[in-house]
Amino acid sequence: MGPNSRKPLLIALGIASVLAIVVSLVLYLNEDLRRSTFVMLEKTVNEKGEEEIRVKVEKPKPNKEQVEKISRTRERQKRDKLKEKAEEIRKTVKEMARVEEALRQKLSAKNEWSAIAELADKLDASFDSLTTEFADQKTLENDPDVLPAIFHMRRQVRELLKKVQSFVEVKPDPEEAGGYLADVRKMTEDEGAVRGRIMQNAEKWTLTRREKIDEADRLGQEYLKAVQQLVGVPPAVGIEPDDPVVFEEDLEEPGSDVLDSLPTDAEFENMTTGELYESIQDMTQLMDGVFAENRAAELAMMENITMEQATDRIYAPKTDTGPDVGKALDAMNPANLEQFQKYSEMLNQVERSAENMARTAANRLGQVSPAANDGNKATQTAQQLRQAIQQQAQARSQMQMLADNAGRAKGNVQDMRALMAQSYQNGFSGRPAPDTGGIAPSLNASMSASMSPSYQNGFSGSQGSEEGGVVLSQTFKTSMDPGGGGRSGKEKASAPIRLDLNQVLQQAIPGRRLDQNATRKGWVFIDTWYIIGPWARPLKDSFDSKFPPETAIDLDATYPGKINPKTGKSATLEWRFVQTENIRVNPPDEISDAVYYAYTEVFAERAMEVMVAVASDDLAKLWINDFVVWQDEGLSSWRLDEGFRRILLKPGYNKVLVRVENGPAVCYFSVLMCPLDMLQAASK
C-alpha cells in the first residue's frame, strides 16, 4: 500500500466534515429543527418580586437600512388599504349627502302645486268612501251601470292625484299643466254625469249616498277651480322671488359644503399615510353629522316638525374614530427593530380602525332612507330619489296609522302588506339586496305580485269598519280587472283573530328563522334578542322621545342610562344577549318606569307574508325593517292577542326592533310570527 491508499480515507474525512458543518449550519440557522439551543440565562425579578431565571434570547439585528426598507414596504401595503377605505367612506358620505339634500328639498318643497295636491288628496278620500258606499248588491239592482262608472271615476281621480304629486316634485311646463287642466275638466264632467244619473232617480238611493255624491261633486268643482286658477296665471309668477327652493335639476351634483370638504383622488394620492388616516377620521366625523341630519330630516318629515326640533330629538351617534396617531405615525422613522415593531403595530392599529370606520359608514348608509339604497345609484336622478323619498314618507305615515293599536279591540288585525311591498319595491328595485345572497331574484316577483291593484284595494278596505261592503267591493273590483288576482278578496278582511291561548303557548316554537321546509310549523316566538336598557321613561308622550337605538343600532356601543336615585349616577348601558325558552321575554335589569330596546334579526327564506302578534307589559312599539308595525300605548298587562299585523318580510334577514316601556311592576314582551299560508292552512 503506497501513500495513494490514504487518499480515499482523507476524502471520506472531508465529506464527513463537510456534512457535519452543513448539519450544524442547518441547525444553527433553523431554530425549528433543533431540540435545544445554546442560550444565555439571565436572572430577572418578576412582578411578584420573585426571582426568575429566564432565557435571554438574542436574535440577529437587522441594520438600519434593512429596517427602513421593511418599514417602507409595510407602509406602502397599509397605505393602499387605507386609500381603499378612504375612497369607500368618501363614496358613502357622498351618497348620504345626496339623500340628505333630497330630504331637505322635500322638507322645504312647498310650491304652488302642494296646495292642489292636498285638495287632490281630499278628493281621493271622498271618492274612496263613495266607492265603498256604493259597492253592494243594491246598487247593481237599482242601476247596474252606476257602479262601473263610479269605479271608473275613482281611477281617474287616482291618476290625477298621482300626477299632481309629481308636479309637486317637478314643476310642470305650461303644456303639461294645460293637459292636466283638461283632464280635471273631463273628470268633473264625467262625475257630473254620474251625479245627474243618480239624482234622476233620487228616491232609489239612501240619503247618505246622495250626500256622498254631492260632496264628491262639490270637491271636484273646487278642485277644478283651483287648478284653473293656477294654470291660468303665468307659471313664472307662481314662485316668489325669494323662494329658497329652486325646482331645477341642479341636484345631480349636490353642491353643499359637505361635498366640497371631501378630498379628491389627487389629494389622496399626495397624502402621507398619517394624513390619509386623519382624513379618514375627518370623513367619518362628517359622516356622523350627515347621518344625524339625515335621520333628523326623516323625523321632521314624518312628524311635521321643523328640522331644529327634530335635531334636538334624535340621538347623534358618534363613530369610534380610533386613536389619534396620524401625526405620530408620520413622525416615526424606525431605525432599529424595536422602533419598527412599534411602527408596525401602529400601522396595524390604524388599518383596523380604518376598516371599522368604513364598515360603520356602510352600515349607516343602509340605515338611512332605504330609498337611497338603490344599486344603480348613478342612474337614479335626484328627481327619482325625491319621488322615492316622497312615496316612502307616505307609506310610513300610513303605516304609523295602522300600527297604532290604541282604541282597537283585542285580536284586531291590520293589513300592512301592500304598504310594505310598496316600500320595499321603492328601496330595492332591481338590486340584489346585500343581505339576501341568491334569494334576491324572487323578491321582485313576489313583491310585484303583492302590488297588484286589488291588493292595494284590499289594503284600503281592511281598515274600514263596514266589512260587508268592503268585501263585496273587493270581489267586484277583482272581477273588473282580470289581471289583478283575487288574493286579498279571498281573505276575510279584518275579522278579529281569536287565538287559543293555551294551544299557542304549548305549541309555539322558539326560533328566528322562517324556513319553508321546517319540520314543525305554526307560530314561532322570537327567542333570541339583544336587549339594552333601562333608560328613564318620559312621563308623557313617551314615544316622542327617541333613545339612541331608534337612530342607529350599534351592538358595540354603550350609553348612559337611567340615573340611579340612590347614587345619583347613571349606569352604563350595553347590549346584552338574551336567549329564552319562554314566550314572554323579560328584559334584564328590570326596574320600573324604564325604557328598554330589544333588537334581533329574523330570517325569511323568501318574501313571506307573516302574521305578527305583539304583546307587552306595558307599552311597546315594534319596527320591522325600520317600519313601525306596532304601537301600543297605555299601561296594559301582557296578553298574547292584543292585536295582529299582517306584514311582508323580505327574503333574507329582516331587522326587528322592539321598544318596551315599563310603568310600575313587571315588564314583559313577546313577538310571535306565523307565515300566513300556514295560518290559512290551519284554519281550513
Partner: protein, 140 residues
Amino acid sequence: MAANQLVDDEEVMLSMSPLIDCVFLLLIFFLVTTMAKKDTKEVKDLNYPISRSSLEVPPDDQIFAIAIDADAKIYVEGKPSSIGELLDDLKELEQNDPERRIRLDTDADTPFYRLAEVLDALSFRNLSNVGVRTYHEKYD
C-alpha cells in the same frame, strides 16, 4: 510511457464539486420543506379547555378563526374585535363562503353566555362547519 499512462489513469480521483453541489441541494431541499408554519390567527394567552375525545385536524390556512378569551373579549382572525363586528363578519362570510371552516378558540374560563351567543350567531347565519379547539395531551 504507455504503462505509466495506464497507472496514472488508475489513480482514484474524487471530484469534490459535484458532491458539494449534491449536499447543498439536499440542504436547500430540507430547508424549504421543513419551514415550520406559524399560526398567525392564534390568540396569545388562551388556555384551551382540555378534552379527551378530540381529533387532530391538519392545519388550514383558509380557516376562519374566532377566539373568545377569559374576559369574554372577542378576536377575529387573531385581531381584537367585538360582537358587532363579528356579526357583520359572519354576515359577509355567509354570503361569500358559507362552507368555510370556522375554528372557535376558547379559554377554559370563557364565560358560557359569550360562547352561547357566538354559537347562536353562527347557527343563525347557517354556518355549520364549526370546530372548537381544545387541548389534548396526545397531540399538543
